[in-house]
Symmetry: C2
Subunit: 109 residues, 2 copies
Amino acid sequence: MKVLHHPDRADIQLSSVLYALSDPIRLYLVSELYKAGERACGEFEVPVVKSTVSHHARTLREAGVVNVRIHGTMRFLSIRIDDLEARFPGLLMSVLQAYDSSGEPAFPS
Amino acid sequence: MKVLHHPDRADIQLSSVLYALSDPIRLYLVSELYKAGERACGEFEVPVVKSTVSHHARTLREAGVVNVRIHGTMRFLSIRIDDLEARFPGLLMSVLQAYDSSGEPAFPS
């Protein structure tokens, strides 16, 4: 079975987390995951092709922001809340609050 | 006199701010500016050439993170704390706290 690499908690870097969150679509994915808990990669209603979602999921995973669980042909994403909270207390919450209040469009028209 | 463009408060985008903060050297510059208030571009003790500092300063300015004031041949940087705080309350503080506690090296050896 294919095993995806996830950085250990201690290896999660602030700059990498901020970079992973610096894209409107990735911010949207993380915001949706925060509400939903866990979601399949194909479940997000985004106007981009599946491979683009996969690419964003990989960026988030490699930065330590999300966990990706493989089940059959599907990939399930969830936020590594405990790890992020232990590493950078309050950071994820303040980014999500900023996102909610910013009105920033995830999908520029 | 050359006037540098700074985005209006309302036009500061979360994804751009996070991107501007997603680089170890830019995080270091912002952290130093937060302690110092205002500093000249050439004052930072960073192991990169002046043009690289200028480039980072530009990224931070264009994202709305810093104000750049030109005085003679010098450029003075300061964080747009009031604008960032009004736009994304608590965000800058949580990033700076995460930076302080992360022990992330600004200058990887």
